[in-house]
Symmetry: C2
Subunit: 412 residues, 2 copies
């Protein structure tokens, strides 16, 4: 096999992937594969899937979210309730030549798009389903997260009740696991000729992560899980501080050198050493710094409280300390880390407007690939019907808009 389209920035060029998806995990997986060069066709029911109008919206009601997660794909719309529409999509999935036959789906409740049905015509299919839970039952990031334990340890120390994360971490991790699993399965198929039947349950992504990071092992081996510690860094010394002008900073010290620099810049070296002696504590040990974090924070906070954000930034800059000024989304979008970051493209997205959009966060030979526009819903339906599925022009209008055919049900 040789393919001139395969370059360092398009390592997956040649692959043809069909995605039947909605919300975050599966669309992110497909978009990521497209960012690496694959031809990804997102399939939607007539009118779009349940994420078609997901917030945030523009003032005109277009979904910024939908545009953000479908960049660089082709869009195919079909009546997924009709046998004819299902057959067309099945042919799209199983076609595409040697490097087609790859399905990414999170809508597993339809038999026609199942592994068994599709491998009747394409035995080497790479079939990946994203499900809610391992038993196939439903679940979304918010419900899966509730069971993981994380909401009970996130948030202010004195808060009672769970605190949800805002970034949908399980969806993101699930989408990236899916992109990886497909890529690895493709490598296997290219070497052995065999396809794969893969399922990634969102809940198992969350549980595996909680296990990998030691949250579950801690509860099981030590008999008690991690407590809620607010913005403190667990097991080492890190904390947020506020300046006199009300700006918050996150400060992290992972090594003895970081911690010495924090004492030095805040002028607390002598008092912390006196404290260490009085407490018989060795602050070169990160666990000891963690256990005594409250008194240490009280000492350091005096220095932060007496200074402006600008003074604090200037003083911390010359040190080894890991630190960052907290920003809101409003501050971030006008910050050079976005406006002057080669990760971002000033993207003219039809229906949405021109805005800075990110490409894949993978620099290749020192450069990022520009972000590409998302399709409008059904943009590539006609071309795919005609060129890939061999449908006659006379039938294309009917298939494009089944609502005009009174014998067909329309999707809600």
């Amino acid at each position: 096999m040789s393919d001139s389209r395969i370059t360092a920035v398009t390592p997956l060029a040649g692959l043809r992937i069909v995605e039947i998806s909605s919300f975050v995990a599966a669309p992110l997986a497909g978009m990521t594969l497209a960012q690496l060069g694959a031809d990804v066709i997102r399939v939607d029911p007539v009118g779009g899937a349940a994420d078609r109008h997901r917030w945030p919206l523009t003032a005109e009601g277009a979904s910024i979210y939908w545009a953000g997660l479908n960049k660089g794909k082709r869009s195919f719309v079909a009546d997924l309730r009709s046998p004819e529409g299902q057959q067309l999509v099945s042919r799209l999935i199983t076609g595409g030549g040697q490097q087609g036959g790859i399905l990414l789906t999170n809508t597993t409740d339809r038999e026609w798009q199942g592994y068994d049905a599709l491998t009747q015509t394409r035995p080497d299919l790479v079939h990946l389903e994203i499900t809610g839970r391992g038993d196939g039952s439903t679940g979304v990031d918010y419900t899966v997260n509730a069971a993981t334990g994380f909401p009970s340890v996130t948030g202010p120390i004195d808060h009672e009740g769970p605190v949800n994360h805002v970034v949908p971490v399980w969806d993101i991790a699930c989408g990236l696991y899916a992109a990886l699993a497909i890529t690895a399965a493709v490598r296997r198929r290219e070497i052995t000729g065999a396809g794969s039947r893969l399922v990634i349950p969102l809940e198992n992504v969350a549980l595996a992560t909680a296990s990998n990071l030691g949250f579950l092992g801690e509860a099981q081996l030590n008999g008690t899980g991690r407590p809620r510690v607010g913005n403190a860094l667990y097991g080492s010394y890190g904390q947020d501080f506020a300046s006199v002008d009300g700006v918050s900073f996150m400060v992290v010290t992972l090594t003895p050198r970081h911690f010495r620099d924090l004492m030095s810049v805040t002028g607390t070296t002598e008092v912390v050493e006196a404290l260490a002696t009085a407490l018989d504590a060795d602050f070169s040990d990160e666990g000891t710094r963690y256990r005594h974090r409250d008194v240490l924070t009280a000492l350091f906070a005096r220095w932060f409280r007496a200074r402006s954000a600008e003074e604090i930034s200037g003083a911390l800059s010359g040190t080894s300390i890991l630190w960052e000024r907290y920003r809101t989304f409003d501050e971030l979008v006008s910050d050079p880390r976005v406006t002057a970051n080669p990760l971002f493209t000033d993207l003219r997205q039809p229906g949405i407007g021109t805005h800075l959009a990110a490409g894949a966060p993978i620099s290749v030979d020192g450069a990022y690939q520009p972000a590409r526009v998302a399709p409008h819903l059904g943009e590539h339906t006609d071309a795919l019907l005609r060129d890939e599925l061999g449908v006659a022009d006379a039938d294309i209008a009917r298939l494009r808009d089944p609502a005009t055919d009174s014998t067909k049900r329309t999707n809600p």
Copy 2:
């Protein structure tokens, strides 16, 4: 190329990857590649890297965290400060035959392991560095997160100041992007013969995610970013509720059917309809449900507050509503979703103890691969020195423990 080791559960078998890493992102990337069948060798300095004693710890002081993120790898220890140690590791990276020559590193401050140095002997190297920020400066999940905007919208509505997430979402996403980028680059090398030079900055992973999900576009296009909405679902109706016996539930309704079921089960159909009429609101629209969430929550909460957790679970189970009972880590580890989940293996981890550990959250042909033990630090040093690097037995003891050679500096 043909390789009998490549099966559906080991699609990356044959690959030999060297990982020079610490903390979360790079170790997670390496472990994930190992879970897919690759031979991953983690390289550490004498005494271990900075994450060697990272919390959580067992009562005996062993790192549950380290064991969790290094499962299924081989461990090689060398004096990374000495030219001799650097040369040995360089040979390990560039060796490994046709499918070796893959480096995953998050310690980019050493010239000898840079792309330019290593491609002198191995031009087809796949070289992936994880950095803090795009300009190469340092950053960790906690500091990167502070700049993303998420802490300003996470946490209770009435809370002032930032709320950090506890799950290190950027590290996790960065590690999975790294595993994917390496796998895609390997596919390219297998087809074209060419290597790749890849860099993934942790901060750019966070910014790309904020962009993909519309958080940045919303602030830029609408002039104002998302507010803090507590545990509410943004743009649709979802909320947490407490039972009379103090158990919290997360309830999510994404479709009109979900919402109708929530009204029905809580006996509020008539009152919500009266409310809709009085407010001239159409609750079949998810944005309308979101805008009126406070009054809706007040109505629904009465039903939850009057019932036990068991009654609530029973009533919600028969509906289409997406819901989950919040659990602590302590509750989770004895819950069937962990104890009866085929994702988990009762792993006997030397130095840590027997506990339930997760494999990769990817089911292949309906089954999960069992979790494998993590090595002890340096477990494979001797074998790799002898068998892969051709070091004479007389030199192995000296290289294994450079501290015994008084002419060498020891690592701190």
